[in-house]
């Protein structure tokens, strides 16, 4: 992606405009500072995956499909347990990349204005991963991610594009996750541990989402005018592809295999293409896609994801 240099003053001005937001969010983070190990000590040693619900049934990847209709209650419950572990696993993998990116940017000269909050962001993401990891290792397993990369190295992109993509991808990932957290934190059918994890993540992510939206908007407004049409189109294609990739991980054949379903890859393919699931993804993505289109970052919705 080739670009003209972004005027430093414009970028600095955009970032410094976040000052009051950063101070307010940092204050809130200090007020709700947590020790995750206190909570973990209260978690049970064992759970009953076929009798207790760990995910809201309506948010399962097979809900509304013919495969779902064929499952009895115990099988649905077991699927909900493994999908909870998959949801927490994809958070672990997402937060691992996020923490790497945050650590790289901590105290970078041009990001000094937001460094105070980057500390909280990093700390809170690490604690979320402690909860997610504890669930997966104590009761289930950490599901593998299929995300990896070997092209578009950091060297081939300018730093402002790297920054924009990093924070935009973080925001997209967190907005989708947050919808699941919000719904599942309020679902009284769920096991208390599942409700706690979802509630705690939603509570803290709400600050990260405010920060993410402000920062992504500031970066876009400061940088996009100097990027040129071709670069902007490539970024749009990339973000649309990222949204599809993020969603694809919710349909994990490894989960279907653990839940005892036959032909897990075909099950994943059927679920991904099922009309009810496409509508679910569109509905859950509505807020973040609305944000991306209203700011002009996207010029059309990511059709592949739906």
């Amino acid at each position: 992606m080739s670009t003209s240099p972004v005027p430093k003053a414009r970028l600095a001005e955009a970032l410094s405009s976040l000052g009051p937001t950063v101070s307010r969010l940092s204050h809130l983070s200090q007020r709700s500072y947590q020790n995750p190990y206190t909570e973990l000590a209260a978690w049970p040693q064992q759970v009953r995956p076929e009798e207790e619900w760990f995910s809201s049934p309506e948010y399962l990847s097979l809900y509304g499909t013919q495969d779902w209709e064929r499952l009895d209650e115990a099988s649905r419950c077991r699927l909900a347990f493994h999908e909870a572990a998959n949801f927490y696993s994809l958070n672990i993998h997402g937060e691992k990349s996020l923490m790497q990116g945050l650590a790289e940017r901590l105290y970078r000269k041009d990001l000094l204005d937001v460094s105070e909050y980057l500390h909280h962001f990093l700390d809170e993401e690490n604690k979320h991963s402690i909860y997610f990891g504890a669930f997966c290792t104590r009761y289930s397993r950490v599901y593998r991610s299929r995300q990896f990369s070997f092209e578009e190295s950091h060297d081939s992109r300018s730093r402002d594009i790297e920054d924009f993509l990093f924070f935009a991808k973080t925001m997209v990932f967190e907005e989708i996750v947050d919808n699941y957290n919000w719904v599942q934190s309020r679902d009284s059918r769920l096991h208390p541990v599942a409700r706690f994890i979802n509630h705690n993540h939603h509570f803290e992510e709400s600050r990260h989402l405010i920060f993410g939206r402000r920062l992504v908007t500031a970066l876009w407004e400061a940088c996009a005018p100097s990027w040129g049409e071709q670069t902007v189109q490539e970024l749009r294609d990339y973000l649309r592809g990222y949204l599809t990739m993020a969603w694809r991980e919710y349909y994990n054949p490894d989960v279907y295999a653990d839940a005892g379903l036959e032909d897990p890859w075909e099950t994943a393919e059927r679920a991904w293409s099922a009309p009810a699931q496409r509508e679910h993804r569109r509905e859950v993505s509505k807020k973040v896609v609305g944000f991306l289109t209203s700011t002009g970052i996207l010029d059309k919705e990511p059709a592949d994801a739906f």
Partner: protein
């Protein structure tokens, strides 16, 4: 596992669907897909799922390198031949 011909057809369809915005996109089984930007890194998880489905075998991302995905010939050889090492 599906026949090699079917695997190649499915891989070509996947690539062309992802490159739908490219006018007159035409690929052969030797077209360097990432080098010529028919595919991007964001497509890799989906491609991996497809290869797993076509070969009926899980693929460990820790054992992969760029050459495995250079073109359709490379992918078929690496993941979908009898005796391949996913």
């Amino acid at each position: 596992m599906r026949s090699e011909q079917k695997i190649r057809e499915d891989l070509r369809s996947f690539v062309l669907a992802k490159a739908a915005d490219r006018e007159g996109a035409a690929i052969t089984d030797q077209t360097p897909l990432f080098e010529e930007r028919y595919l991007r890194s964001v497509h890799l998880p989906e491609l991996l799922l497809l290869l797993e489905r076509l070969s009926g075998t899980p693929i460990d991302v820790e054992d992969l390198n760029p050459a495995d995905f250079r073109d359709i010939d490379s992918m078929v050889l690496r993941f979908c031949k009898a005796g391949a090492t996913p």
